[in-house]
Symmetry: D2
């Protein structure tokens, strides 16, 4: 198969400070669909257009942040093989039984050297996107809020991003698309990795504290939808960090904003199609400004300092 | 690797009736960059944003149409393996020496049951997209004409599309994304296949004559660029077949038009991201209208009859 | 005042074959807001963003078509003056009492030489656009359907368009923006007139039958909204005449489609800003194709033949 | 006439610190066309799409800022009448002979209570927009840089904005579209005035120093062109003040940036169509943030402090 192994970022579990307020926010402002709740009190969402049962899960906690990121793999045999490959690579893994998450099969969980929990799974119930698989329309008209296309990727902050990269590249088949160097001109400050033709499926920034979340990102269909998203954020008094603007890295257009718990999220569009035979793009430390915010050509203070 | 084997449609060679007129057309109207000519009289083009040396090649002939479609594979070992796999599958292949096409490595060529010549290759010189790999800008300002992002895919007409599909699926790792049924409700009238996350990398329509070309497609960045493309076509008195409009299949937006030789080309944008775990979308024969042209909900006469 | 006299096309009354079906259509597909019904059985609509109580009125009849087009004038004194000016010009006028239409002041009605009923009025209740006049947001989130910005203009078919033009220019202060000549190179086949900076506030095509409607037009905000409108039409099985495409005249982007009664309507965007000191643009008869449909460069059969 | 008196902002003369650097900037980055130079050393520009000979004039000086803003009026009789009306209103006017500016007729100049020089004129040579007045295309393909549609308006800072408003309203026929109140809830901090259907033709902010320029504004065609403008600014290392973003006032989308002399300019798109019968929108002082920058909902420091 041309696409095998890890297919895509499939689910993302995040901590919020007030569950009901967050349900309101993700339902009405972001426009996700609530798909169910489990006995642990977790609430499951998907975008309108996603076909699998859930992609974004929140639970109430004292502190905001990310619990884990899950990647869907091609099938159960792939799951078993990648589990074995991880162990052979020296990564401790654990199995979480099917059904621990709603409508989701068995998961393989492991911690990466940035301190984040990563999961692989092969099964999640196909509930469709509200349109039939025979003779569908092109979109579903009853959208609410920003209405993103999909949970797209996340940017994680932690110390050993080189160690994380090695696992993603050597075991999981990801490849480097872009990177920003530290001021020593050697080490990486930030890396963007993909397992697909998307410009990024996960990204890391070097940061002293482990396990931190910079942002979770939702894909929009067009630059006009980015404007509409910013309008909806303003109408709902969402705190915008920056945007609408464009990244130099991936060329994507973007808004960063904060959810009611202080978790940063991104609504973004674009980014080029990429392939593993293409050489990565490198940004030197003095150009981190245009790399991240191409129009302003400088970072705002919050970008490097505020994480959850 | 998550992406292995066949990476993408990489080159497309087409016959034109008048070489100079076609060079003018593809340079000034489509906005491709001429990259070189060879001793066979072939002229090589790429889009501004493509990084490999060439993707679109024309040669003068008495009849318009497609010579062959080439797919880039991950590396030489993959090329050798796929060659062996094809032979094992009963497909006759031949090797074409490196350098027979400008800046292109060894190719494996074979004919598929629709009567088309398909090629695989692993090497084509990386000449870049006009921006450095260190600290690039987001686009190159001196664009001409329609200025597509890339050669994206083609739609081929021929008799045994089932046989073609089997090779693409069983040997080359493609998967079916959408299909339209014949009026018998069983056989496929049209199939859309991909080896990536793009909604299609190649497509076929069942048609009595072998080896025919319906269209070669160039990707645009946005629906506004589709409008701009239609404007440029009108300014240059290009014969538009249909569009701007939207496909039901892939949801992409599109214009079909004819080059000076009567080869149909498409400038299109969008189409969803797809994955091999997602079930294909099926269109019944009575809904071929909205499947192909979602707004008009009917085919224009030319769509099924005019091929080159 | 820089803008005086006639301000804008303010209301449009149209005949429909089935009232309930049309209410559903204009409410759910076009996305107008129903504002009230009167004792004559007429149903009043406005767009979300219009501030006056109504702009689009339908009544059930045996035949589709236009009843009358109303223009709002600056104030009552202007109404009286224009009434006197019309009479002085030899146009028979009649007064219709305030309140004959819901929330609408006294109207001056007259017939123009194309056989259409035109009205002037100075008062219509300001009901707002759903946002306060103090510290508003930028749009109202609960839109339905296509959700146009405003009733924008109409194109009327009738015999003596020169006579109509003279009244609009000499008495009502409109000016010619563009025109298409007949094949004699002298007379006008079509004229676009405005009383504002909009590229057209009313247009006429020469046609043997008097009093006919080619289309009533609703303004959209962007080319992306034109695509969305076409999608919504397809989802609702609305018969699209042509589009999305662009006009040469006014440069506006457009879709023509038919309501359930066979009345043609347009959803369009753009068109340049114009001023009375700018010379009109002329199209010769052989270029009527690109004048009307810039991309196809030819008229479709229906454009000149199907009117209601 | 429905549109009489003052037609539009027609020319704008600005001081720059280095003439050649500014010519390069306005030609290559903004994409204006140089139309000529006069014996005073002034350089004249127009946008590609403007039809009159010039709209934007620069001259070298020790200090950046605005020299004067000129409005085109309907004809010479209107010019004479408005001159008389201004004098009758107590405004001192002077006549500047035809030809003092290239291809421009006689001008009536006067100072308004904000300390700015305003001009009226009736004649400027129609040189066209690069397309014929018979059978034109829809745009001219050889655009450079940002390529705005037109010089649209300016925002001036000065002390007595009430006095300026009275002249624009009482004598020149402008009307108030939006205003922001001071913290006393009575006086205006900022006013947006128009003589047309455009959401603003001139605007003022109350400021202690007279005769200051906040920005000169160029119109773009779409939100995508706003993105493209920001990209071009970044490529050319233009200092962006803020944007792309949206104004609450007028709902227009915008970028503010600085020319090489420190003059702020705006590239903006949109803004609703307005009419003199519509009540103005009011913003209270505590909502000046969303009024000016709808997404961020707060002013950046520079907006109120940096003027030229």
């Amino acid at each position: 198969m041309a696409i095998t192994g890890v297919l895509r970022p499939g689910h993302f579990q995040m901590r919020v400070l007030d569950l009901q307020q967050s349900i309101d926010f993700y339902t009405n402002v972001i426009g996700l669909k609530e798909m169910g709740r489990d006995t642990q009190g977790r609430v499951y969402f998907k975008t309108q257009d996603e076909r699998d049962h859930n992609s974004f899960i929140i639970r109430e906690a004292d502190e905001a942040g990310v619990d884990f990121v899950g990647f869907k793999v091609a099938d159960q045999a792939t799951l078993d093989k990648l589990d074995a490959d991880l162990r052979a690579y020296g990564v401790h893994t654990e199995r979480i039984a099917a059904g621990e998450m709603l409508e989701t099969g068995e998961r393989v969980r492991f911690e990466i050297p940035t301190g984040h929990q990563i999961e692989l799974y092969a099964e999640k119930t196909d509930v469709g996107n509200g349109m039939p698989y025979v003779n569908p329309e092109v979109w579903v008209p009853d959208a609410k809020g920003i209405n993103p296309v999909r949970f797209d990727h996340c940017l994680l902050y932690g110390p050993d991003i080189d160690g994380a990269r090695k696992i993603f590249e050597d075991v999981l088949g990801f490849y480097l698309v872009e990177h920003v160097l530290m001021d020593d001109g050697e080490a990486d400050l930030a890396i963007w990795l993909t397992c697909s033709n998307k410009a990024h499926d996960i990204a890391f920034v070097r940061h002293p504290e482990p396990g931190k979340l910079h942002h979770v990102s939702f894909l929009l269909e067009s630059w006009e939808q980015v404007l509409r998203a910013a309008d909806i954020m303003s109408m709902n008094r969402v705190s915008i960090d920056i945007g609408p603007t464009r990244h130099g890295v991936t060329r994507g257009t973007t808004i960063y904003a904060f959810d009611p718990s202080g978790n940063r999220f991104e609504t973004f569009c674009g980014g080029y199609q990429t392939y593993p035979d293409q050489q990565p793009i490198k940004w030197t430390f003095d150009q981190v400004g245009p790399a991240v915010f191409y129009h302003d050509r400088k970072l705002n203070e919050r970008f490097l300092s505020v994480v959850s």
